[in-house]
Symmetry: C2
């Protein structure tokens, strides 16, 4: 039963869009990641995805029946992106984020490119 | 796709040990709750439970092969209590907490008493 200090763990991360595993429970991972710049448009077929901002802010862009939308997620805020929804996070400045999602979730969802991370390390 | 501001939601809670549902994803709830005083010793047969401190601090007491242990969980820290582990949170002063756990999780686990909350409201 080890506790995790979010800020301490995030201080060990020196890259962007490369999630680390901070905890596992009930078939889900808690991941920590730093965002900077725009990510890739994608969706997840079978997984809902929670984003919580630990430090900074980012903009979640997504597409629904009304077209392209966006919402700022500020420090201390979270958002759930339901499965199937096309989205991409964009961080104008570096942003520290906690993710909660099923173990099977691939960061780029239905897309594969240079940002895809298949082997995640623990932190 | 509505974002949730943790501090705003927590400011709506005026009681203790009464979790509210702040989000649902992948069969899990994100709950918000205020702790004050000692909770009930209990365990969960089938659910791991994550506690994250949004404001304040609390002490997680638990029992393992070495007997009774405890660890302070401070603001910005989290801990996972694995299924089967006897535990009880204790907050000397009011503490604001986020929980991640399966939808089926009962707050008092294998115990039922005046602190048990079966019908949770959304916040």
């Amino acid at each position: 039963m080890n506790k995790v200090n979010l800020t301490e763990k995030l201080s060990l991360i020196n890259d962007h869009w490369n999630p680390r595993i901070a905890a596992e429970l009930n078939g889900q991972y808690v991941k920590l990641v730093k965002f900077q710049g725009p990510f890739t448009w994608h969706h997840h077929e079978n997984e809902d995805e929670l984003f919580m901002v630990v430090k900074g802010r980012f903009r979640m862009e997504y597409r629904d029946d009304d077209g392209e939308q966006s919402v700022w997620i500020e420090e201390g805020e979270m958002i759930v992106v339901p499965r199937g929804v096309e989205h991409r996070p964009v961080a104008d400045d570096e942003c520290e984020v906690l993710l909660f999602e099923p173990v099977a979730t691939l960061n780029t969802g239905n897309t594969e490119n240079e940002l895809t991370r298949k082997e995640l390390s623990h932190i």
